[in-house]
Symmetry: C2
């Protein structure tokens, strides 16, 4: 991945992120974070959506808020997970307003192995089901509508998109993401 220039290389150091154990899919972006346009590409949403969600405080960039035109928001890997969940819910026809409830919950409860977990919304509450049996219980005992978001595919797709970004950055060389590279050297 590294092209040899320490200034342009992507950090390989793995660290504790905001969302619990590092499962290998975050690579080293966790320290630098992701810029707005990168996030849009990785998650598969429009810049307008990302901007609106930040402004209405659905999901604000946890590493750095923008300081005006020309500056950059920086999002963490955990932010990306949450954004991907929002996207999934929207794709499934769930209203943004409801996604807000889900994300409020997710913010406080992510910390385990996401690959086997599912976020379950049952109208007014959200629950993080950690195993398939947990879900079955919820389904069997539920009396109202359930929205079930498997997180395995979420993190898998994120890993793939981030890997693709890694590859793109490495292939493009030192000047591919000047804004990104310079921030890293800016003492971030």
């Amino acid at each position: 991945m590294s092209t040899g220039s320490s200034r342009e290389s992507l950090p390989q150091k793995l660290s504790q992120g905001t969302l619990g154990p590092v499962d290998g899919s975050e690579s080293a972006w966790e320290e630098i974070g992701f810029r707005g346009p990168q996030v849009c590409r990785i998650v598969g949403i429009s810049y307008r959506q990302l901007d609106y969600w930040a402004r209405t405080e659905l999901l604000t960039p946890s590493l750095a808020e923008a300081q005006g035109s020309g500056t950059q928001r920086r999002y963490s890997y955990g932010d990306l997970v949450a954004l991907k969940v929002i996207k999934s819910l929207l794709d499934a026809g769930v209203a943004l307003k409801t996604a807000r409830v889900a994300i409020d919950y997710l913010r406080d409860h992510l910390g385990g192995d996401l690959a086997t977990a599912s976020l379950v919304l049952d109208g007014s509450r959200s629950v993080l089901a950690l195993t398939g049996d947990d879900i079955v219980d919820l389904v069997r005992h539920g009396q109202g509508v359930l929205n079930i978001v498997p997180l395995g595919p979420v993190v898998a797709e994120l890993a793939a998109s981030i890997h693709e970004l890694d590859v793109t950055v490495a292939a493009a060389g030192p000047k591919a993401t000047p804004a990104h590279g310079r921030k890293a050297t800016g003492g971030g």
Copy 2:
């Protein structure tokens, strides 16, 4: 339930409705149908919603469309089930646009015992799961977001609301629902 006046009594004859076997919860309203305002009360929605849904063809009255101001829409028991499903989805934060997909499917697939069935939406498809095991299978093998609507509570709540309407009509006597009563005698 009958107050003795054949003109004002509610028909007790059970018949095949538009939604399969009569399960005892429809009473005899199936033949007469339900007027707009009654539907709103039974299902728990605003008249504006019902009107909009009829006008935008989400759910039109299957027994009779309105013929102008002052005339009446008449909805069947099956219409009520579908409306209740829509309401449940909306309450769960699912967008009306998505509910439209679900109702398109439901229109063609209702015919069994609803009390143990669930409607499952998985993004682009809808499935009617007839047993708890069906649902478990869908959940275990699903890769995207699932919306699960148990139909048991839907028909149970409908039965209760319709029973309440029956009681109200019977208690109020012959002039409680003139519009309704006269329709029955009008040869409907």
